[in-house]
C-alpha cells in the first residue's frame, strides 16, 4: 500500500531533484577554466552580475507593495457577502498568466492606449507617458499578476483566524486599530511571512514580461533572462546552470531571512487558525 507513493517519489526524484543536482554539478564543470570559472565569470561581468540588482529592484518593491495593499483589502473583503465574485475576478489574471497580461498591456498602456487617452483627456499630462519597454511596464505587469496571488493567499490566511478572537476583543472595547494591531496581526504574521516569501519568489523569477514589456537588454535584464540567454542562445549549459543555481540560492537566502525575521519578532505556533 505504501508502495503506491513510489512512482510519484521516483518521478520527482528523476525530474526535479536529479536535474537540480545535475545542474549544480554542471555549474562546476565550466567550458573553460577551473571549477569556479562560471561563478567567477558571472561576478566579473557587469552585464551578468547587475542582473541580480536589477531583479531585486523589481521584485522587492513589487512584493512589498502587493503585500501591504493586500492586508487592508483582505481585511475588508473577509466581511463581504459576495466574496466569491471578487475572488473569481482576481483569479483571472493569475490563470491567464504573464504572457497574456503582457500582450494586453502592450496595447492598453501604449502611447495610444486607454490609459494614456484618459490621462491626456483629463489634462493630467501633455504628451503620452512612456509605460512600455522600460522598468514600469514590467512593474505594472507584476502588480497585475502578483497582487491577486498575494491577496488570495492573505485572504485564505486571514479567514483561517477564528472570528471569535476578534469578537472577544471588540466586546472588551478594543477599537478597530487595536484589534488589528494586537489580535489579528500577531495571528497573521506566520501566514504573512509565507505570503511574503512566495510572492517574492514569484516576482524574482519574472521572465516573459521582462522581455515583452521591459528593456531586456537594459533596465529589466533580469537574472532569468541571463540564464535563458546562456542556455539557449549561447548553448553554454554550464554557465546557465551556474546562473540558475545563483537564482535559486538568492531565493533561498531571502526566504530563510524572512523566516528568521519572523522567528525574531514572533514566537508561537507556526500555523495560525485552521492551518
Amino acid at each position: 500500500m505504501t508502495l503506491l507513493v513510489l512512482p510519484a517519489v521516483l518521478f520527482i526524484l528523476a525530474l526535479f531533484v536529479y536535474p537540480f543536482l545535475y545542474g549544480l554539478w554542471l555549474s562546476f564543470r565550466p567550458n573553460g577554466g577551473g571549477g569556479l570559472a562560471n561563478y567567477a565569470k558571472f561576478f566579473a561581468d557587469p552585464f551578468l552580475y547587475t542582473t541580480i540588482t536589477k531583479t531585486l529592484m523589481l521584485a522587492v518593491p513589487v512584493t512589498v507593495l502587493n503585500v501591504v495593499v493586500s492586508i487592508p483589502v483582505a481585511l475588508r473583503v473577509r466581511l463581504m457577502r459576495h466574496q466569491r465574485l471578487l475572488t473569481t475576478i482576481l483569479v483571472v489574471p493569475i490563470t491567464l498568466g504573464t504572457v497574456l497580461v503582457s500582450e494586453g498591456l502592450l496595447t492598453y498602456l501604449g502611447p495610444r492606449g486607454w490609459v494614456n487617452r484618459v490621462l491626456l483627456d483629463l489634462g493630467l499630462i501633455g504628451t503620452p507617458v512612456r509605460l512600455l519597454h522600460n522598468y514600469w511596464g514590467v512593474f505594472l505587469s507584476l502588480v497585475i499578476t502578483g497582487f491577486p496571488f498575494t491577496f488570495l493567499l492573505t485572504l485564505s490566511y486571514l479567514t483561517g483566524i477564528d472570528p471569535a478572537l476578534e469578537n472577544a476583543a471588540a466586546v472588551l472595547g478594543a477599537p478597530a486599530r487595536e484589534r488589528f494591531k494586537r489580535v489579528l496581526l500577531p495571528l497573521l504574521i506566520p501566514g504573512l511571512t509565507i505570503t511574503l516569501a512566495l510572492s517574492f519568489v514569484q516576482a524574482f523569477s519574472v521572465f516573459p514580461s521582462a522581455i515583452l514589456l521591459g528593456e531586456p537588454a537594459g533596465a529589466t535584464r533580469v537574472i532569468s533572462i541571463a540564464a535563458y540567454t546562456a542556455a539557449f542562445e549561447q548553448y553554454d549549459y554550464s554557465l546557465a546552470s551556474a546562473i540558475a543555481m545563483l537564482m535559486a540560492g538568492i531565493q533561498v537566502i531571502i526566504v530563510l531571512a524572512l523566516l528568521a525575521a519572523r522567528g525574531l519578532i514572533y514566537s508561537g505556533p507556526a500555523a495560525s487558525g485552521k492551518g
Binding site: 503506491l4 473569481t88 497585475i144 515583452l212
Partner: protein, 276 residues
C-alpha cells in the same frame, strides 16, 4: 465580525473599495483592449476601433498555423491530466492513509516543485531533457509539465481521501477486494469530486504553463501559450490585431476551462495555498 460604522472606518472602507475597483477596472480595460483590437479593422488615436472585422481570426487560423498548435495543446494537456492522475492519486492515497518512514521527506518532495518557480528549476530540467533527447519533442513538454502536475494532484487529493471512512475500505478488503478492485469499485467512485477538481486544476494550470513548456518545446511541440509568446515577441512581423486575435483564442480556451473548474473548486485553491 461586523463592520464599524464610525466615519473614519467608513472612509477607510471606501478607500479600500476604490482601490479594488481601480484594479478591476484596469484589468477589464486590458482584456477589453485585446478583444476590441482583435475585431477592429484599425485603431488609431480614437476610443474605439474605426470598424469591425473578423478577418484577423481567419489570418490566425491560416498563417499562425493554429490547428496544429491546438492539436499539440490538447495532446499535451490530455497526457498531463491522465498521467498526473495515474501517478498522483495512488500516491495521495498512500500519503493520506499510511504513516511510513520518510513520509515527511516525501511531503517536502511534493511541496518543492509547487513552491520553487518554474523558471528556476526549468533551466536544469530542460538541460537534462536535452541530454536525454526528449526536449523539443512532445514527450519532453509532457514530462516537464508533470513536474508541478503530479505534486499538485497529490496535495489536492490528500484531504479528499482523509475524509473517506477507512472502514469502507476495510469492508471491501474483508469481502476479498484486491488493490485493483478497491480502487476501481470503491475509492475512485467515492473520490470522483476530488479527482475531478484536481484534474481540472491541473488542466487550467497546464494550458497556462508558459515557462516549462517554453524551455522544453521545439517547433512542433509548442502549446498555445508558447505560440502566443513567439507571436508577441516577433511583433511587427504580423499585424497587431492578428496577435490580439490569437490572444483572444488563448483567453477563451483558458477561461472556458477556468469557469468549469470554478464550479467545483474555490478560487483560492488555484493559488495552491501552502498547507502546513
Amino acid at each position: 465580525m461586523r463592520a464599524d460604522r464610525t466615519p473614519g472606518a467608513r472612509a477607510w472602507a471606501f478607500a479600500v473599495w476604490v482601490l479594488v475597483a481601480f484594479f478591476v477596472l484596469n484589468l477589464a480595460g486590458m482584456i477589453a483592449t485585446v478583444v476590441l483590437d482583435s475585431i477592429g479593422t484599425h485603431w488609431f488615436a480614437t476610443w474605439l476601433p474605426a470598424g469591425w472585422t473578423g478577418r484577423w481570426y481567419g489570418m490566425v487560423w491560416n498563417e499562425f498555423q493554429l490547428p496544429p498548435i491546438l492539436i499539440v495543446t490538447v495532446e499535451v494537456v490530455a497526457a498531463v491530466i491522465l498521467l498526473s492522475g495515474l501517478i498522483g492519486v495512488p500516491a495521495a492515497y498512500a500519503m493520506a492513509r499510511r504513516d511510513f518512514p520518510g513520509r515527511r521527506v516525501a511531503m517536502l518532495l511534493f511541496l518543492l516543485p509547487l513552491l520553487v518557480p518554474p523558471i528556476t528549476y526549468g533551466i536544469p530540467l530542460a538541460t537534462v531533457l536535452y541530454q536525454a533527447h526528449l526536449a523539443g519533442t512532445i514527450w519532453g513538454v509532457i514530462l516537464a509539465n508533470l513536474v508541478p502536475g503530479v505534486p499538485f494532484v497529490i496535495l489536492i487529493m490528500i484531504p479528499f481521501i482523509e475524509q473517506i471512512d477507512p472502514r469502507i475500505e476495510a469492508a471491501a478488503r474483508v469481502y476479498g477486494a484486491g488493490m485493483g478492485r478497491l480502487f476501481g469499485q470503491v475509492l475512485v467512485p467515492l473520490l470522483t469530486p476530488g479527482i475531478l477538481a484536481a484534474l481540472l486544476l491541473v488542466l487550467v494550470r497546464t494550458i497556462a504553463m508558459f515557462e516549462l513548456t517554453f524551455l522544453t518545446a521545439g517547433p512542433t511541440s509548442q502549446t498555445l501559450v508558447v505560440a502566443l509568446y513567439y507571436a508577441v515577441f516577433a511583433a511587427g512581423v504580423r499585424p497587431q490585431q492578428s496577435i490580439d486575435a490569437m490572444a483572444v483564442v488563448y483567453t477563451v480556451t483558458t477561461m472556458m476551462w477556468l469557469l468549469i473548474t470554478l464550479r467545483f473548486v474555490n478560487p483560492t485553491q488555484l493559488v495552491g495555498r501552502a498547507r502546513r
